[in-house]
Subunit: 380 residues, 2 copies
């Protein structure tokens, strides 16, 4: 048929702040109420004013909005959890972090259960206690979640290639849980001044992407060939250069030959770029033209579309126009992969179950490839 | 005339280890001798075996080798100083660091004095004591050095946009001293494992380049419009993407508009990329084809050639073939800028004084543009 399956691998949900109260362990309810009071009168994060905040926590409103955009299914990330846990630059008390994560996880499980097979949530898992993390991965899978969002690298935490973390990767493989990092990580060594926000924004993409080369070069995908890893909402324009430079060192190029190749290979049996192809996916939300232009260097089977709904920097309410603007000259098979089929592969969406929905709401190939772009969409 | 001025902005020199003994403050000679003994029987760093190590510390040998390569002049960086000072990932005792720096500085002043106007050395300056650093910049200028190599950002050090460092930038401007960072910096948060060297090598370019966007976005070039900054031996393939992304935030693009532009501008009166054009130079040693292909996004007036002599990853003894391989289809005026004229602008080389040398040893435009490349040069 002529319709295209659109799966957004970057959606954001959260409860209203007080909405986590029923989900937090009763022992932590006192601390939770104190935390809640500290926000008295403050707004609840960035969302599209026109949407209110409903699309973050009302599954019916959300599904209706997705359908208007032609989107069948979504991979969902937390947009705020109790005690600011889940903020990738934040590492409070380990037990408090875990309790906050679990409150979010219980809530998002309920949320996703309202549209089975269409809303795929990620669990927040902290790595402070590896055995506990493994139990949490098992539990999250049982509850229907499809992956985990890793904590950030912060000073004193284990580097992601540390074999101490291998049991967590093993649990992810056992349960087909996708491992994620998400944009938002930032430097921990920065001091404050007028340029801080601009420096943070310019570096954030590197910090969120950093775990990818660390996992590759540290041998995690060598040890866990079936592990799926996705860098969410972080563009993908940087992948071809990273691939080329990692591979050059593995091959032993002019610049690094003096050290020999062994020291750079570190036991990797394939070129680093081959692990990108096999193990890594890139969620390039509100894709720039750069990602589309560089799609072959990124990986036609690895690049995925994201709406970043309902953030103001997302494509709502112009998703259909964005699709045409970016994909009007991309071959049909590549368009289908990037907009949906790669997400099916990465996350195990049930394509057969989604097929009737594609026929009902999916944009046609002509919608995406046909006609000139109306200059009504802000795309700067 | 048809000959081209070649200036390499990345050469490496050092004394043999024991050669610093006469240059170290007598009060530190005991500590120096202890340090020296700890290397008993160990080789003295990476150099071309065929060159011996002479080209690092013998100015006559060096100049003869440069002339054979068709290179008129060089910007020189330390390749090893007492107590491992100058190593960009190393921050020992502040006073010991300064004494080591000064021993290197005194030595390199003597070295450069053997070929006036052709060997332009950089002083090692530590920033632990700002007043002392200012005095050291003054002193280095008086002694004929042309710039300073900054210490790395290390945990606990001042971030480079901290106004506390402004007196150092003011001294550099007053004396036309070029500020440098050089490849070699690396993460300070990395733990050790089999992948460490590959991770380090893959990240090193980012860490060495990081001060550039920190200086730009932190407003240093806004406050010091005449400051010259150069990223040495660190490629330049990354500049066009950095430029585009910094500028997009300053303009207020789709992805960052929700924050408003003020928070990203931080008082910058121009787009961040305009500070690249005005204040920043890129020393892309042993230039890859990528840098040549992206030269307009980097900046035709900002990109500079480096030989990385006498490192094994440098172009010796094939410099003339490298020039043809990389520049055979680059327009003449752009070739002249990248290979020499931009270095004249950045460092204030005396072009008139070098002119007779260009006529004697410089490659002709036909050497660079003519004929097919013989496949005898290793270029992987």
């Amino acid at each position: 048929m002529g319709r295209v399956a659109i799966i957004s691998v970057d959606g954001h949900v959260k409860a209203p702040r007080e909405g986590y109260r029923d989900y937090i362990d009763p022992k932590w309810r006192g601390a939770f109420d104190e935390w809640l009071q500290s926000f008295e009168g403050m707004p609840d994060g960035f969302v599209r004013t026109e949407l209110g905040e409903d699309a973050q926590w009302d599954p019916n409103r959300r599904v209706a909005d997705l359908e208007r955009q032609g989107v069948m299914a979504e991979v969902l990330f937390g947009n705020g959890a109790p005690f600011a846990a889940g903020r990738v630059d934040f590492a409070p008390d380990p037990e408090q972090t875990r309790q906050a994560n679990m409150a979010f996880n219980r809530w998002v499980i309920d949320f996703c259960s309202e549209a089975p097979g269409r809303l795929h949530g990620q669990a927040l898992v902290s790595f402070d206690d590896v055995d506990q993390a493994v139990r949490d991965v098992h539990w999250a899978k049982e509850q229907g979640l499809v992956g985990i969002l890793m904590p950030p690298l912060y000073p004193g935490s284990k580097f992601f290639f540390d074999p101490a973390l291998d049991p967590i990767w093993a649990a992810c493989v056992e349960h087909d849980m996708v491992l994620h990092t998400h944009s938002g990580a930032g430097p921990t060594d920065i001091s404050f001044g007028p340029g801080t926000m601009a420096i943070y924004a310019s570096e954030a993409g590197w910090w969120a992407a950093r775990p990818m080369h660390v996992l590759i070069l540290g041998g995690v995908f060598e040890r866990f060939p079936a592990l799926h890893y996705c860098v969410a909402e972080n563009g993908a324009w940087w992948v071809p250069d990273l691939r080329e430079r990692m591979d050059a060192k593995w091959i032993g190029d002019h610049n690094t030959r003096k050290f020999g190749t062994e020291v750079f290979r570190g036991g990797l049996s394939m070129k680093p770029g081959d692990y990108i192809d096999r193990n890594c996916w890139l969620g390039a939300s509100t894709m720039h033209q750069t990602e589309v232009d560089r799609r072959h260097g990124i990986g036609i089977d690895n690049l995925m579309w994201g709406n970043d709904f309902p953030h103001p920097e997302g494509t709502w309410p112009h998703t259909r126009e964005w699709l045409r603007m970016r994909f009007h000259d991309v071959p049909v098979d590549e368009t289908r992969k990037i907009l949906g089929l790669n997400a099916v592969d990465c996350y195990g969406f049930d394509a057969d179950a989604l097929a009737p929905l594609v026929e009902r709401i999916g944009p046609t190939i002509d919608d995406i490839h046909g006609g000139a772009l109306e200059p009504t969409v802000e795309t700067v």
